[in-house]
């Protein structure tokens, strides 16, 4: 039998594809199968992490009817819609994390050990990030002190927070820190 694609070489590869209950058959030579990416030389997984993630997303949406559609939810930077993301499981740019944060959070909790990064920080913003982390901790402490009516101690924490905030400048660095 001749290859269905080039109609020149002998068809040595028989491919049966099944989708939505329908079966299609293809008889190709090795060259055409290669060109059509039908020959999986690459050991590419049939089931990828993206699919797993997209599956989790869909499951989550399915379980939560109110959240089952996010019409218009779209990343303002790259234009990826949430619907597209939930299909492919891959984000388009770094802004997507902010755009889809509320939807992503429960899933991140499911697949990771929490929602906050505890690892390496790029050198050029290390001090800023450490300051921000300290500010977060101080704010929690301060609220606790206020609840316990320890106002003097809370004021000390407030001053420290202000001091740290003043150190941080918008360029992503900290005053006095070399770029």
């Amino acid at each position: 039998m001749l290859c269905q694609e080039c109609r020149k070489n002998e068809a040595t590869i028989h491919i049966i594809k099944s989708s939505d209950g329908k079966q299609t058959e293809l008889f190709l030579c090795e060259h055409c199968a290669h060109d059509r990416d039908e020959l999986d030389f690459s050991y590419e997984p049939k089931f990828s992490l993206h699919q797993l993630f997209a599956g989790l997303l869909n499951q989550n949406l399915f379980n939560n009817r109110e959240a089952s559609s996010f019409p218009g939810l779209q990343c303002p930077s790259c234009g990826l819609t949430f619907a597209q993301f939930s299909q492919v499981g891959r984000l388009g740019c770094s802004e997507c994390f902010t755009a889809f944060e509320e939807q992503l959070k429960p899933l991140l909790r499911k697949i990771h050990a929490g929602c906050s990064h505890r690892g390496k920080i790029p050198f050029r913003i290390r001090t800023k990030v450490l300051y921000l982390r300290e500010i977060d901790e101080l704010k929690e402490d301060m609220q606790q002190k206020v609840l316990n009516e320890k106002f003097e101690e809370a004021a000390v924490l407030r001053d420290r927070i202000r001091q740290l905030e003043a150190q941080i400048i918008d360029t992503g660095t900290v005053k006095g820190e070399n770029q």
């Binding site: 040595t12 090795e30 290669h34 990416d37 030389f41 690459s42 050991y43 590419e44 997984p45 049939k46 089931f47 990828s48 992490l49 993206h50 797993l52 993630f53 930077s77 790259c78 990826l80 492919v88 499981g89 891959r90 984000l91 388009g92 740019c93 770094s94 994390f97 992503l104 899933l107 991140l108 697949i111 990771h112 050990a113 929490g114 929602c115 906050s116 990064h117 505890r118 690892g119 390496k120 920080i121 790029p122 050198f123 050029r124 913003i125 990030v129 921000l132 982390r133």
Partner: protein
């Protein structure tokens, strides 16, 4: 990959991969062609400024043949995804192949260190060193709360995937793998066959990697993986000793038969070859056969793969031709080493 390293009788290799993106550009899957070209240019510029990258070779995917790409996949130096990216993908490779950097894969950068034996910490240090060098020139996409931002949320945070290639013949022979590998998945580790996600276990080779990348530091991820794996190593070694005590003659016979087939067979599939190399490796590790070593066994494991085989032969081969070429190449490698 060279042989050597600690626990090399069970751990074939340690691999650490970190995913990074440049802040200002869309991730590769959504980036337009000109943006992906600019990423290539930026990376070329950034690495060109550093003395440490001088010895690296640069391989645009567009300049590589299908066979060359396939053999790089088989050596775990690039992913199938990058191999399929023919226009804008590139590889930066250190001459010893221990460091490889994929550009424009799923993320802008995937920095990988691969070392023989159980050397996860060292691999992390190596990959981290090149990460620091690039980071000093490039503004990475990083969020104070979520860490390094990646195209797939399963990599967010540290962007770190640490994995070990384990040879577990005794646990598999004694049918203990289901229990142990099941336990690994319960402690957040992913277990796969030789070629990653979804691939089946052949030749008693198993890949174990971390799944969590957010919420733990790189050191925690690596030390968790190392400590769990040290228990698997212990179990494998116990099972080997047990087998050796009870079935010494059978194991020696199996290893020598494997060597015989590898030396004299005329037609061989890659699956059969991988199984025989595994039998031979077990015989060598148990001291039952001394005419081979890990360097040769690792070399065999790579050269029998379809891409490497065809690249060595210098032309495309169909399955039947490969099954004939394979034992010939194995025989050559075995004779050369003796």
């Amino acid at each position: 990959m060279e042989a050597g390293g600690p626990d090399t009788d069970v751990v074939i290799s340690s691999r650490v991969r970190i995913a990074r993106n440049v802040r200002k550009y869309h991730f590769p899957c959504l980036a337009a062609d000109d943006i992906r070209n600019r990423i290539l240019e930026d990376m070329h510029l950034a690495t060109g400024k550093k003395e440490e990258f001088k010895e690296f070779s640069y391989w645009p995917m567009a300049d590589l043949s299908i066979l060359e790409k396939q053999s790089l996949v088989e050596k775990h130096l690039i992913s199938p995804l990058l191999a399929g990216e023919s226009k804008h993908g590139a590889l930066l490779l250190r001459p010893d192949e221990a460091i490889s950097i994929m550009i424009n894969e799923e993320d802008h950068l995937r920095i990988q260190a691969i070392l023989p034996g159980l050397q996860l910490e060292e691999a992390w240090k190596e990959a981290g060193k090149y990460d620091d060098l690039i980071e000093s020139e490039v503004d990475y996409a990083f969020d104070e709360r979520y860490g390094y931002l990646t195209a797939c949320p399963t990599n967010i945070g540290t962007g770190l995937r640490a994995s070990l290639m384990l040879h577990l013949p005794a646990l598999i022979i004694t049918r203990q793998t289901g229990r142990i590998l099941g336990a690994l998945s319960q402690v957040g580790l992913a277990v796969r066959g030789l070629y990653g996600e979804g691939s089946e276990i052949i030749g008693n080779l198993v890949q174990v990697s971390n799944q969590v990348t957010l919420g733990q530091s790189e050191e925690e991820i690596i030390s968790n993986l190392s400590s769990v794996i040290s228990q698997v190593i212990e179990q494998e070694k116990n099972a080997r000793q047990n087998l050796l005590d009870k079935k010494r003659a059978n194991l020696a016979d199996k290893a020598w038969r494997a060597l015989g087939l590898l030396k004299f067979a005329q037609v061989m599939s890659s699956q059969e070859a991988i199984q025989l190399i595994s039998d031979l490796r077990l015989g060598y590790d148990l001291g039952l056969i001394k005419t081979v070593d890990h360097k040769l066994l690792n070399e065999l494991l790579v050269l029998i793969r379809p891409g490497c085989l065809q690249l060595m032969t210098g032309r495309e081969l169909n399955r039947e031709e490969r099954n004939i070429e394979r034992p010939a190449r194995i025989k050559q490698a075995l004779e050369r080493s003796q």
